[in-house]
């Protein structure tokens, strides 16, 4: 009990770091985000590099021993395709073509930050062969590379969406709670309106509004906007409830008597008191955005080919035949699952740490 000289934040941080599960999840998320940020370098291929000869090619096996059983540096075989009696593609390793796995190779070109041009990639094989660590999709694009690139969209959409919807939710909730009365009444009815319509239908309806001729960046932004448009209402209601009681406190009166403007009081004095709740809510609502984007992309209304997002990658698994014959196209779903779980674990841990009122049962 030597906590008396520590700030509240330090105490919270300390007990957060003592939760092993949360720290592991933090690391996993860190890795995922790093993978997305450095996708250009880590992925062996660019997201649109395709080779139709490798359509639905199974994950490439990396060998360390050759046919005669001698140890060698890791290498892969080239693949030859043939068709069985059901016209299903059957891939076979072509023992004659051997490609060693090389590190720091020259691969597809990319432009980090749009300025420099580089071709350096962490690993790869000679251009005649192909390495698909997690298999290939229908057009013979590398799933592993596309997952890394897809993380850029799937992982950022949660953060961006939360940032937008929380600014709206906090502001609306703050205003409604602070002023009360008629303002409160109207704003809350508006919130209820948004909460009344089942989220997925609202998502579909709003998506149908986005013009078809938008380019991928515009679609991305409109999806973020749509998702945050749906998400702010729930938060606004809770914040409003908190502000209703906060506005009766003395510090609000003090600020008022010092002549701080209403908006100033709301933003600088009232809302900061809701911060620990907001942090928890942010963590626990990010998965919702990731899932919503995935759902939208899954049914073909989100991010469009050739750009990748995890939902978009999973959309290849919409048919039973594809799932049956190329089960590795389900792997992006695993990434969604892990991400969602990490955010949930961290959110739960934060709640335990930041909200002493909720005792751990």
């Amino acid at each position: 009990m030597k906590d008396y000289h520590k700030s509240e934040f330090q105490i919270a941080l300390g007990s957060f770091l003592r939760n092993r599960a949360a720290v592991v999840c933090l690391w996993v998320l860190g890795l995922l985000y790093a993978g997305a940020i450095f996708a250009d370098f880590l992925a062996p291929y660019s997201y649109q590099n395709e080779d139709r000869d490798y359509s639905y090619c199974e994950p490439t096996r990396v060998h360390v021993r050759d046919e005669e059983g001698r140890w060698q540096r890791p290498f892969v075989y080239g693949m030859t395709v043939s068709f069985d009696q059901y016209h299903k593609r059957v891939y076979q390793e072509d023992r004659a073509r051997k490609y060693p796995v090389e590190f720091f190779v020259q691969g597809d070109e990319y432009r980090p930050l749009g300025l420099l041009s580089s071709k350096l990639r962490l690993f790869g094989v000679a251009p005649e062969g192909r390495i698909h660590v997690l298999g290939a999709d229908s057009r013979g694009r590398d799933l592993f590379s596309r997952i890394l690139y897809g993380g850029r969209i799937s992982l950022s959409i949660g953060l961006l969406g939360v940032a937008i919807s929380f600014s709206i939710g906090l502001l609306v909730g703050g205003i409604a709670g602070y002023y009360g009365g008629r303002v409160d009444n109207i704003l809350m009815r508006v919130c209820e309106m948004f909460m009344m319509v089942p989220g997925f239908y609202l998502l579909l309806a709003l998506r149908s509004v986005v013009p078809a001729n938008f380019n991928s960046m515009q679609v991305y932004i409109s999806i973020v906007v749509i998702l945050s448009f749906i998400g702010w209402a729930g938060l606004a209601r809770i914040i409003r409830g908190m502000c209703l009681s906060l506005r009766e406190r003395e510090f609000v009166l003090a600020a008022k008597s010092m002549g701080v403007s209403d908006l100033g009081i709301i933003v600088k004095h009232v809302l900061p008191h809701t911060i620990s709740y907001s942090i928890i809510a942010v963590m626990l609502s990010i998965p919702g955005y990731i899932l919503a984007e995935s759902a939208l992309s899954l049914i073909g209304l989100g991010i469009q080919d050739p750009y990748a997002s995890w939902g978009n990658l999973l959309s290849e698994a919409m048919g039973i035949l594809q799932i049956q014959f190329a089960p590795w196209i389900l792997i992006p779903g695993l990434f969604i699952l892990v991400t969602v779980m990490c955010f949930n674990v961290i959110g739960d841990c934060l709640r335990d740490v930041l909200d002493p009122k909720i005792k751990k049962l």
Partner: protein
């Protein structure tokens, strides 16, 4: 009570209409309608398209269109589907039933599993089985339902025992009544499992929390002190009180299932409201979208209303006046 229900409906209905207006305007104001797509079809003459556009008043101002649509709502007419070429309500009626079957089945499964599980976990608090259930429900909570559905489809296709996709087998019409029910149940397995798993995880946790809270109350101590057998304490005194707060959830779950079911319907090709909505949105079948949309809103309303009424019935401390 009637007064309370009426009041709730009176507030909700205009809100629903405003939301509908927004959607309508947004859908009509953006580029293209169903007949713009049809114009590109060389088999359809421009005159035909022109005639339809005039017939459905698509050349009139948006607000006029909306008003005539809203007026018809009171006669329970929801307009005409461009895509299916029959009145919207005929399209929706069958689909709604299917969605109901799916939602009802998954609510049933969720509650029948989660309540005993949560109670069991609470009674074995912090022992092995409790820890096990909590860990499992954490995974269940974090598994996206669509991913689970795909996984189940994969496993199903591997084993070949479970019917995949759709609602009925090809030979459904030839089956006896019992066979038909059995066939339907078989097709329900994957979508219901996909929908239920996450909710079981969530509900189980809430149930466990409630139960623990109730078990700490003094009336439980009293019941035990007066020598009641343990099963009576738990089932008569604790369980009933722990279930009370969950009733509100039932209403919310009802509405969220409708929305969550949509995606599962699409993946498992279950012919419900969700998959209908998707085709409607894609083909810009405005009135169909609007009707599905309204239906979703109405179901949400009913769900919440039912939850509130049930809660007041179960807990005499709650009065209707305070609910609003």
């Amino acid at each position: 009570m009637v007064k309370y229900i009426l009041k709730r409906l009176l507030i909700a209905f205009p809100m629903l209409l405003v939301m509908a207006l927004l959607t309508f305007v947004l859908m009509q104001k953006t580029a293209g309608n169903y007949y713009d797509l049809l114009k590109m079809d060389p088999r359809v003459s421009p005159e035909t398209v022109e005639r339809y556009v005039r017939l459905y008043q698509l050349d009139r101002p948006v607000l006029v269109q909306f008003l005539s649509w809203a007026k018809n709502l009171f006669r329970l007419e929801f307009g005409y589907s461009f895509y299916y070429n029959i009145p919207v309500k005929n399209v929706i009626a069958g689909r709604l039933l299917n969605t109901f079957i799916l939602s009802f089945a998954s609510i049933l499964v969720t509650w029948l599993i989660a309540i005993p599980l949560g109670t069991f976990a609470a009674l074995n608090r912090n022992r092995f089985w409790d820890r096990f259930i909590q860990t499992c429900s954490y995974f269940a909570l974090s598994t996206p339902s669509f991913f689970l559905a795909m996984l189940l489809l994969y496993l199903g296709s591997r084993s070949g025992w479970i019917p995949l996709g759709g609602m009925r087998s090809a030979h459904y019409a030839e089956l006896s009544l019992a066979g038909k029910c059995f066939d339907l149940l078989g097709h329900l397995i994957i979508p219901v499992a996909a929908l239920s798993v996450a909710s079981i995880g969530a509900l189980q946790r809430i149930m466990r929390g409630n139960m623990l809270e109730v078990l700490g109350q003094q009336y439980i101590l009293t019941a035990r002190a007066k020598g009641l057998p343990e099963h009576r304490v738990i089932f008569r005194h604790a369980l009933r009180n722990a279930l009370n707060p969950l009733v509100t959830l039932l209403g919310y779950e009802f509405s969220s299932l409708l929305s969550g079911a949509a995606l599962i319907e699409i993946i498992c090709s279950w012919p419900g409201l969700g998959s209908l909505m998707l085709t409607a949105v894609r083909s810009k079948d405005v009135y169909l979208v609007m009707a599905s949309f309204m239906m979703g809103g109405v179901l949400f309303l009913i769900g919440n209303l039912l939850a509130d009424i049930l809660l007041a019935r179960l807990d005499p401390r709650i009065r209707y006046e305070r609910l609003s």
